[in-house]
């Protein structure tokens, strides 16, 4: 009796499952395609917002002139949208922050994967994850309130919010990313390579830079690329710590980034006016840069997989 009951329940269950299967399939299918849909939608809306102005943008001025004056003080003058200084700001912060983050991130990854053991290793990995969890507004706050006076004091400069400060904050945000991906790729190097090198009398350092780095090269590159993506896209901390002046500033000068420009000026625009649309043009350029970086890192990561299989 009991047997008959359970088996009939089971039969019912499987019949339900048979019914549900197309539904489940459909949900999975839709979720998969929706991610593509979302990306397309993002492109569509950003282009749509900028569309009216796209045909009339003076691209030469946009890319090569540093005259970003959306609301001229003199009512009779036409606004000007030369974004070179702003694009430079993003570029400079990216380069300087990567110069800081890559060596430190790589060193930390090497330490965690090759030298630290047991508890130390676990604690370090948790710390890296914690670092990654700090919201960027907190970094902006640190840059503004803590780092700025320190930079003024240490380097004897007048302004503490500048290219260096912003780059430092972005570096701190990129480091956890770089560390965890680099560490993954170092850990993926078969242990037999390490033993081979050590047994041939290589020192630990030699083993690391002559065997591990080449073997993990693609993963390390991908880490760097994702770090760059992080730096290009970072907004809040950059806004707060960079000083916000569009100019070709040096290390201790104020600069302004594309992201921060959009975020800070949006409130000054009326929906659909020229200034608003030009901010979306900056958004498009930013989006294109990010897509290129992503595609590049994707290709690099694919390279890793191909080699491993």
């Amino acid at each position: 009796m009991a047997d008959g009951k359970t088996s009939s329940i089971r039969a019912l269950g499987s019949r339900l499952l048979d019914r549900a299967e197309p539904l489940i399939k459909g949900v999975i299918y839709v979720s998969g395609w929706s991610s593509i849909l979302f990306v397309a939608a993002i492109f569509f809306f950003i282009f749509k917002e900028a569309a009216p102005v796209l045909s009339s943008v003076d691209w030469g001025s946009f890319f090569f002139e540093n005259r970003w004056i959306p609301n001229p003080a003199d009512e009779n003058k036409a606004p000007s949208y030369g974004a070179a200084g702003i694009i430079y700001g993003t570029f400079a912060i990216t380069v300087v922050s990567m110069l800081i983050a890559m060596p430190l991130g790589l060193a930390a990854a090497v330490y965690i994967s090759e030298f630290a053991t047991g508890k130390t290793k676990e604690i370090l990995k948790i710390l890296v994850e914690l670092l990654a969890a700090i919201p960027s507004i907190i970094w902006g706050f640190i840059g503004l309130v803590i780092m700025s006076p320190i930079i003024q004091w240490v380097f004897g400069v007048e302004v503490g919010v500048n290219l260096f400060n912003a780059s430092l904050m972005v570096a701190f945000m990129a480091i956890p990313l770089i560390v965890s991906i680099s560490e993954d790729s170092l850990r993926a190097v078969p242990d037999s390579y390490r033993e081979a090198a050590l047994a041939l009398g290589a020192s630990r350092w030699e083993m690391i830079y002559r065997v591990l780095f080449p073997a993990a090269k693609n993963g390390l590159l991908a880490a760097a690329m994702l770090g760059v993506g992080r730096a290009v896209g970072e907004t809040m901390a950059v806004w707060m710590a960079s000083g916000g002046t569009e100019q070709f500033g040096l290390l201790f000068d104020r600069v302004k980034a594309m992201t921060a420009t959009i975020a800070s000026e949006m409130k000054d625009t009326a929906h659909g006016d020229e200034h608003y649309q030009m901010l979306f043009v900056i958004g498009i350029v930013l989006l294109i840069i990010c897509v290129i970086i992503n595609v590049l890192s994707d290709l690099v990561i694919k390279g890793v997989k191909k080699k491993h299989s």
Binding site: S192, A199, L200, A202, E206
Partner: protein, 275 residues
């Protein structure tokens, strides 16, 4: 062990050393611990130069552990404690003044799975040289080419690799990879070569050819080879050491150990495998 007195049965008896003091590896009371776990118990063994000595015994008896203590590669694991002395060519390798790179230069190692480095065939061969020679003394390209050629010739790889020296070593077949792993030791002119089941990843043909190669090398090196293959131990080695549960049970010329084992345990092991 006084195996040197019974060397008539030893096929390489002619080349066995007359002076028993001329041991290549000499261990005394070696205890080894992985954390709290003791893997070797009072190992005292003398290994003669220019012959092949096999380490045999059931899985987990400590063959690999003993072998890996001869070049101190065991210490990678951090939780390893070694007591006692291991003298290689008259010097205790656990002395404080021993340099690991130097030790590993004279004590080469071949692993169970071929592990060429993920660089070119050429660079694999001179990897060790690059570590051990200051850049200016490394020699000209031509000298390095000669070194690579002669190392590859010695392992019968030259003909198949001479046109693809720049290829990644990992593109070779397993047999070729294992030969390469032997060849890359040669430019360092080691005195001892340690091999941990060097043929276990190979097919029958590969086993035969690599065994042949190892036999040819015995005249110039002290070879210590771990093997779980009784046939291989019989065919390829001059002396055998039987280990059980971290202890040396018997050390004798190969033929004697197989024909006429002194210890009951050895006999059981050999018969268990071949009975």
């Amino acid at each position: 062990m006084d195996s040197s007195t019974t060397s008539q049965a030893n096929p390489a008896g002619a080349s066995a050393p007359e002076g028993a003091g001329q041991m290549s590896i000499r261990t005394r009371d070696v205890d080894l611990f992985y954390g709290d776990f003791q893997a070797l118990f009072g190992v005292s063994v003398d290994i003669k130069p220019n012959i092949i000595t096999s380490l045999i015994g059931p899985s987990g008896c400590g063959k690999t552990t003993l072998l890996r203590s001869f070049n101190r590669i065991n210490e990678r694991y951090g939780n390893v404690t070694t007591r006692g002395t291991i003298e290689i060519l008259g010097k205790n390798i656990y002395d404080a003044d021993v340099s690991l790179p130097e030790l590993r230069k004279s004590v080469g190692m071949v692993f169970q799975r071929p592990n060429p480095l993920p660089i070119s065939i050429y660079e694999n061969i001179i990897f060790g040289l690059r570590s051990h020679t200051p850049k200016p003394e490394l020699g000209r390209r031509g000298d390095l080419d000669d070194i690579v050629e002669s190392a590859l010739r010695e392992v019968q790889l030259w003909e198949v690799t001479k046109n693809r020296l720049k290829d990644r070593a990992t593109t070779l077949t397993l047999e070729q990879q294992q030969k390469l792993c032997i060849a890359r030791l040669l430019p360092l002119k080691p005195q001892v070569i340690l091999m941990d089941e060097p043929c276990s990843a190979l097919d029958a043909d590969g086993i035969e050819r690599v065994e042949e190669l190892i036999s040819e090398l015995r005249e110039r090196f002290t070879i210590v080879m771990v093997t779980h293959n009784m046939g291989q131990a019989k065919r390829a080695s001059d002396e055998c050491i039987y280990m059980y549960l971290g202890k040396i049970i018997e050390h004798a010329p190969t033929a004697e150990l197989f024909l006429n084992p002194r210890e009951e345990q050895t006999a059981m092991y050999i018969e268990g495998r071949y009975g």
